[in-house]
Amino acid sequence: MPGPRIACIVLPLFPLAARLRSEPELVREAVVVTEGNGNAARVVAGTRLAREAGVRPGHTLPQARALCPKLVARPRDEECERAAQEALLEVAEAFSPRVEDAGDGVAYVDIEGLELHFKSDSPELELGRSLVAAADKAGLPVRVGIASSKLAARVAAGLPDSPVIVPEGEEAAFLAPLPLARLAPEVEITSTLEQWGVRSIGDFARLPKERVASRLGRTGRELHATARGMDSRPLIPRELPPVFHEGTNLEWPLVSLEPFLFVGRAALERLCERLESAGLACQRLGVELRLEPDGHQTRTIDLPAPTRDVKTLLTLVRLNLEETQPGAPVAGFTFLAWPDHPREAQLSLYGPAALSPDKLATTLARLFALLGPDRVGSPRPVDGHRPERFSLVEYTPPPPPEVRREPRAGRGLLAVRVLRPPLGLEVISDDRQPVEVRTLVQDESEKRPRVEGRIKVASGPWGLEEGWWTEEPTGRDYWDVELTGGIYRIYRDRGTGEWFADGIYD
């Protein structure tokens, strides 16, 4: 029975690659990523230009600057690294549902059966190339190794000329000529073995396992087994994260909105690309701000429909920040996207055309940003009789009918244009009915219609009562009145005796 086939995806110089993913304009510069503060900061990784200038990991920043005066230094950024790791896993998940997160730019993918998707002579090689290309598209220059064990795949991924394929059962032969440091560079035993004259993995594998176990203990025994190509660690698939993160720590704190949006746009673009690659859209957007000196703020923006339109999301962030300012310089930020599946629609051949769910979601979000949340939606009547009341719900139109039909013959009904809020009136009335109305003096800047004149015909009163069981009942006496300028619906509040116009027949 054939064993499992595992692809290992490795992002070399992970802290640097993660940083460059956030700042792609630095790719062609001499850049180093450092750990630590001030002059004590040490280089963790550097670009080719920096390495060519002699900068090596472990150098202090002043040493590195002495070697390369034009060096660009960036501190390690946990946010960038977390986002890059997630992006790497998402690339892998686009190929296989079983992906293990091994941390720090390493992911294992169970590729069993995937070769059926590739019809060439060497399907695994083609799969490896596809993985590299997909990661490259996401801004991640990865290396890929494919083998039957995690260890062999990891070692293969560390070699140049990616992708490297290790045929099934040839793991031991593949590992044998490689230097021992490739087996487990982090384990101290390797230096001990080198002192014994054991240089390659093959040399180590040839040692008797009982002797190795008695001299090097349990770790040595396990390492010996892996050197012989035996790796019993199973692949542990990760669970999908409920939230997508993307953010960065800023080199210096930002105090104005425009630079923040400039930096934020790039992060949102990366976030939306990730959502798109997962076939998802953003239903709720969170903005975490790290403020100077040690503040922290979290905001949440609910969207009317799932979208992955960067412009819309950026507008919403802008409006949110304009409405409630952070109150301190922003030293870093993280966008959180709560994903949801985009709306789908089945198009009909014969019925009216349905709206494109994707376009509709984006439009709703943009309208939301333009007009405000309480000004976009599908209207609904409210239980009660006051005509100025209404409610708005999320606009989710049902699918159109399968067959186009003609509208009913028009009934020609007269509608009322609601005046919202009702317009205060001064009314002169005789014993029975109002005879003249005039709009109460109002602020000129309000720009509201005026209702003035002698009443030609009045019809009423029509009583309206609502909520008589509450402490603030509504009682109104309605009149339909015809003036020279139109037909109005006016009422007298039974509680206060004040008159209002709340509609125009139009």
């Binding site: 055309a353 309208l367 209207p379 005509p387 509208p407 009904l413 007269l414 219609p449 027949y505 139009d506």
Partner: protein, 292 residues
């Protein structure tokens, strides 16, 4: 060519009973040929073909327009709101302008089309719209606060594929003035690009040359029911709708638009009053009354 020919033919011979049940198709064809000019006679080959092309012509027409369920408007615009054009409906207070907008929205949503109302005046009463037959689930209601927002919102909804977008500017004074003509031209272009019917209801002319059709609704005459001394009932209103501009047509045609209030007929006799009951809430179309 064939469709145009048939239209001209029908206009030339309106008295011909084309669809008379007792007329044999061959006879009808012979009669029709006889009416045609010599050059066009060879285009009509069979009654079946003629029937099919007439049906196709009717379907093409119905696809090019969106019926509003306001008979006067549909008659004036040859079937309804033309898709891909900006139709400007100008009218003062109580001219039936808002009723027309709601009727168009109700007609579109009731047949399953999505529609959007960009309501600058914030004038919509959802209960009333539902009573007029609108399917509120398919209606997107936008409540902008000025004309700039109105134009931007209308352009967005047009671009997302809504087949009917109604823009109501409310009552004067309109918040934001008339807007730039360039903005209206952009809107008209968006309607044309997405083949959407765009109805702009406004108290005065705003869209300038962008409008493909301009209709003017004159102030309506109220219709009151009741006898002297008794309480009068508003039963509706009637207004005249006049075509002021339409590309390819002469202006000046008009139609009377009769609008009834609720279920009370405009010209019918007054309904016998129902006996009042204690705390009975009655909803008649747009009026809410409590009888005692």
């Amino acid at each position: 060519m064939a469709v145009n020919l048939q239209r001209r033919t029908l206009e030339a011979a309106p008295e011909m009973p084309l669809e008379a049940p007792d007329l044999h198709p061959a006879t009808a064809l012979r009669r029709l040929r006889a009416l045609l000019p010599q050059d066009f006679q060879r285009h009509v080959r069979s009654a079946r073909e003629l029937d099919r092309e007439l049906r196709d012509a009717r379907e093409t027409e119905s696809e090019a327009t969106l019926r509003t369920a306001v008979p006067a408007l549909d008659r004036l615009l040859d079937g309804g709101l033309p898709r891909g054009q900006l139709v400007e409906l100008v009218g003062s207070r109580t001219s039936g302008r808002f009723s027309t907008v709601l009727a168009a929205l109700a007609a579109a949503t009731s047949i399953g089309e999505a529609a959007a109302l960009v309501d600058l005046g914030d004038s919509l009463d959802p209960t009333a719209a539902e009573a007029l037959g609108a399917d509120l689930q398919r209606l997107l209601w936008l409540r902008p606060q000025n004309l700039k927002q109105t134009l931007a919102a209308a352009e967005m909804v047009l671009a997302s594929g809504f087949p009917l977008v109604a823009v109501d500017l409310g009552m004067p004074p309109v918040r934001g003035g008339r807007g730039l003509e360039a903005a209206w031209l952009r809107l008209a272009r968006a309607a044309r690009a997405h083949n959407a019917a765009l109805l702009v209801s406004t108290p005065y002319r705003v869209s300038g040359t962008a409008a493909g059709v301009v209709l003017k609704a004159e102030r309506a005459q109220a219709a009151w029911q009741g006898e002297d001394g008794a309480i009068l009932l508003l039963s509706g209103a009637s207004a005249r709708l006049q075509l002021e501009k339409q590309r390819g047509r002469l202006p000046g045609q008009s139609e009377e638009m009769r609008l009834a209030l609720g279920e009370v007929p405009l010209d019918g006799k007054k309904k016998a009053p129902e006996p009042p009951t204690a705390r009975r809430t009655e909803f008649t179309g747009l009026r809410v009354a409590v009888g005692y």
